[in-house]
Amino acid sequence: MSALIEIERLTRRFGGFTAVDDVSFTVNRGEVLGFLGPNGAGKSTTMRMLAGFMPPSSGTARICGADILEQPVAAKRHLGFLPEGAPTYPEMTVTGFLEFAGRIRGFKGGELDDRVAHAMLLTQLEGVRLQPIETLSKGFKRRVGLAQALLHDPPVLVLDEPTDGLDPNQKHEVRELIRRMAPEKAIVISTHILEEVGAVCTRAIIIARGRVVVDAPPAVLEEEGSSLDDVFRRLTLGTEAHAGETA
């Protein structure tokens, strides 16, 4: 079985408003899925449900075969998740924070130290290891969140805007990192930077108003229009106008 992520008819309502509407897709090992859509399309909500934080109104998902509703802890063990905005405990040091996440994941002693050191190496955090996170700049904070998601070398990565707020060098580093990890993992990243999709993703899903409107490799999308930018605008503006008419 190569589908590491299986999303099945996932739906989330807030009152009368449907933020995520009957979304289904699977992601196989080796795939990097770019999850695109305008603000408020439902990307973060979908990722929150997949990560087992927000209970779905209906539908479910499986991570490495573990159902997020029936075996939440097993599903989370296989997952590295970067929540939107990369939240961290501000008073902790970078090392302290990563050690906390590592301990919860069951590492101890020398292995814990190795894991933390390796994650800091991947995200270039060694220079600030002992600094309290609240004193770091935005980009460094994001990298701490990323290091936390990579700590246990999980088969499934779900990253909500991983390169938001990073400088061009760091964006490049993170994309390189994702490309290098891609063959052994199933990765979902959400982003508003469309050239990133062409650079790292093997497949793109565009959602608008909670529904999947396109699911195709970026190259195929670019053939359709002159650029990914145009395709994105045409598809997402189209759905909004359409929804406006019917409403």
């Binding site: 934080f53 802890v73 989370k76 939107e84 906390f100 301990r103």
Partner: protein, 243 residues
């Protein structure tokens, strides 16, 4: 190490990384000391025991414990770290238990720091140290009961002011339910309610401890009281975590 203990350790370190811990402890010690020596007439009573101290501690906890618990879940929500904590591979109840344990240990530390009182009575006379010990145990259990109530309330609302006021009100109800004013009022009208009030009263159970009586049924009462509210906390958290 159990996930709850890892969470508790992080949480406790967090208390001491901010002024919250120091302000709480200093206020607690100053008030406990001042009330015991002035209103409690510690020296004038001519008795070597800590009864005045034990009489005031539950009242101090009534306000200080909700101040501690109001930010328990609200702060995680504000920072967004709740999303991080609850997507780590630990059962949710372990996170609930861990946060509670950290706050409880913290109250224990505050209580331990009142040791000069114990030293003083021992210098001045021959107190029954067994009674003092069971009194302290009672204080710790009252703190645990109030903490469990406050933690459950803080899972219900994002608003820290509401969390504080609600927790004080609830703790007040559980604290005073068994007091003569309440039970006498009830027993003239609805005797069955008077029994219930006595049954759920934290203060009623605490009284035994201050007289040196550590009864199994009182321990069971506190254990089930705390257990019930932690369970409630976990259930509420499950429903409200993403709101």
């Amino acid at each position: 190490m159990a996930p709850a203990l890892i969470v508790a350790r992080r949480e406790l370190a967090g208390y001491f990384a901010t002024p919250v811990a120091y302000v709480f402890i200093v206020i607690f010690l100053v008030l406990a000391g001042a009330l015991t020596f002035t209103l409690g007439n510690f020296f004038g009573r001519g008795q070597a025991d800590l009864q005045p101290f034990f009489a005031f501690v539950p009242w101090l906890f009534l306000f200080l414990v909700p101040a501690l618990t109001m930010r328990l879940w609200a702060e995680e929500r504000r920072l967004g770290t709740i999303e991080l904590l609850l997507t780590l591979p630990l059962p949710q109840w372990q996170a609930v238990l861990g946060k509670f344990l950290a706050a409880w240990v913290f109250c224990g530390i505050a209580l331990l720091l009142t040791f000069p009182l114990v030293v003083t009575v021992n210098l001045l006379g021959q107190p029954d140290n067994g009674v003092i010990l069971s009194g302290y145990l009672g204080c710790l259990l009252v703190a645990g009961a109030y903490l469990a109530v406050g933690a459950a309330v803080s899972a219900m609302t994002k608003n820290q002011v509401i969390a504080f006021v609600l927790a004080v009100a609830l703790c007040f109800v559980f604290g005073t339910a068994g007091s003569p004013v309440v039970t006498e009022f009830l027993s003239t009208r609805l005797p069955i309610l008077a029994d219930i009030a006595r049954g759920i009263s934290v203060a009623e159970r605490f009284g035994g401890f201050t007289r040196g009586l550590v009864a199994a049924r009182d321990l069971v009462f506190f254990a089930s009281f705390i257990g019930f509210f932690l369970f409630l906390n976990a259930v509420v958290l499950d429903h409200r975590k993403a709101d």
